[in-house]
Subunit: 227 residues, 2 copies
DNA sequence: TGGTAAGACTACTGGTGAGTAGGTAAGGCG
DNA sequence: CGCCTTACCTACTCACCAGTAGTCTTACCA
């Protein structure tokens, strides 16, 4: 988690524009995540960023533009974090496992980002939710493709795209909510939470109750299952 | 979905307090679900309800009280709808199935309620989220108890409470998100969506890919799987 | 048929927060 | 060293909205 620098008292030191913009964005994500879009005030964001309000407007435009920029930046960071963790050549279950680990890893280290993306963005109407729905749609699409691809390994008639999509939506949603739950119960490491979801969606309660569990292939031991 | 009566132009007809309160609550749920807590204005709520602002304050108190009352009412309605659908004597998988059907049935017929509960309430901080977290916690607790109980049927060492709870959180979350997805893709009936989630969480992708599916016991045919 | 209390309204206040006008310091470059 | 550009500030305007004061009106009962 970023350590926002303390509230300044005098005049801020001169800094190049790019640096200030990053500071402002960090502050904005922080404030938006804590208060939500409407309750967050530009005054507070500027204060946390350590500059004055007109700088905000000079650099990042209106409040709405600022919020949209936050969403885009954080969404991109997250998708990249996940994409980096997944190898397209692996078998489906391993890909899923890698994706889950990367996802929970990101959330664990960027709680504010996650709050902004998951709660604030989706609960505001208009272009924000749309922006977010786009990214969410891409994530669901990826998972759905994974599912359809999984079916190719078996001799079962290929599931309909709609069906795969809704299953993917359920899975993505399970991940989102488990991440939320995890924020309130942060005792456990990311790897354990990810493994639990992996077991749920891959094995199902039916198998789990019967004592069957999924476990990652033991090769590739450089990535330990604990964080 | 309620058909909110159109915007009045003259003076409203005299009505007994209880009736007016219901109208106001319906209007409030409608407006809060569309705009969120902050963006919703008491003026708009009063307009949709077909009365003037002072009536709002006379009957339901402040904006915060009104919102909290909405949450409580809708949460209670939903929990009751689910509880009514589940028989405690049934085997675990059937209980889960009934619960899912009842849940998706409720969401399908009360979209505004669901928006208020799932999005708006949780994204506002303070006592609202707490209220909501309570209900959510009860739901998770119920599912967790179901899971622990399931294990008793098997010879597996009983899963830890924490583990059951996180699995339940994932399941509840999967339901929430699938419901959200469904709102955007409302072609399919509630029963089909519920069945799909049931299959996912009970069988798991592993079994589904292999062609194994869960299906409800064929007795009790008076409840058809379609809505 | 008139009295009255609950139901309803118009028209205001006060506070808050988005966005801006106009002015001040600080680094760079001749 | 003086000039200009870029970073930065204080102090405002204006709109919107929660909440209220004071007044009118209608259904019901005696």
């Amino acid at each position: 988690m970023h350590a926002e620098q303390p509230v300044r008292s005098g005049r801020a030191k001169r800094l190049p524009r790019a640096v200030r913009e990053r500071q402002i964005m960090d502050a904005a994500v922080d404030v938006f995540s804590r208060l939500g879009f409407h309750a967050a005030s530009m005054d507070e964001i500027s204060e946390v960023a350590g500059i004055s309000k007109p700088m905000l407007y000079a650099y990042l435009g209106s409040k709405e533009e600022l919020f949209a920029t936050c969403i885009r930046r954080e969404a991109t960071r997250m998708m990249e974090a996940i994409a980096t963790g997944v190898e397209a050549e692996e078998p489906p279950d391993v890909q899923l496992w890698s994706g889950l680990r990367a996802f929970f890893g990101f959330v664990g280290e960027n709680r504010a980002s996650w709050q902004v993306l998951h709660r604030q963005a989706s609960s505001q109407g208009g272009p924000f939710a749309e922006e977010l729905a786009d990214m969410r749609g891409r994530a669901i699409g990826l998972v759905a493709a994974l599912l359809v691809h999984s079916s190719d390994f078996s001799n079962v008639p290929r599931a309909g795209d709609k069906e795969a999509e809704s299953l993917a939506a359920a899975l993505v949603g399970a991940g989102e909510s488990l991440a939320d739950w995890w924020l309130d119960n942060p005792q456990e490491p990311a790897g354990v939470v990810a493994a639990r979801l992996m077991n749920l969606v891959w094995m199902g309660f039916g198998d789990l109750v019967a004592g069957d569990v999924w476990h990652p292939p033991s090769r590739r031991a450089e990535r330990s299952p604990e964080d």
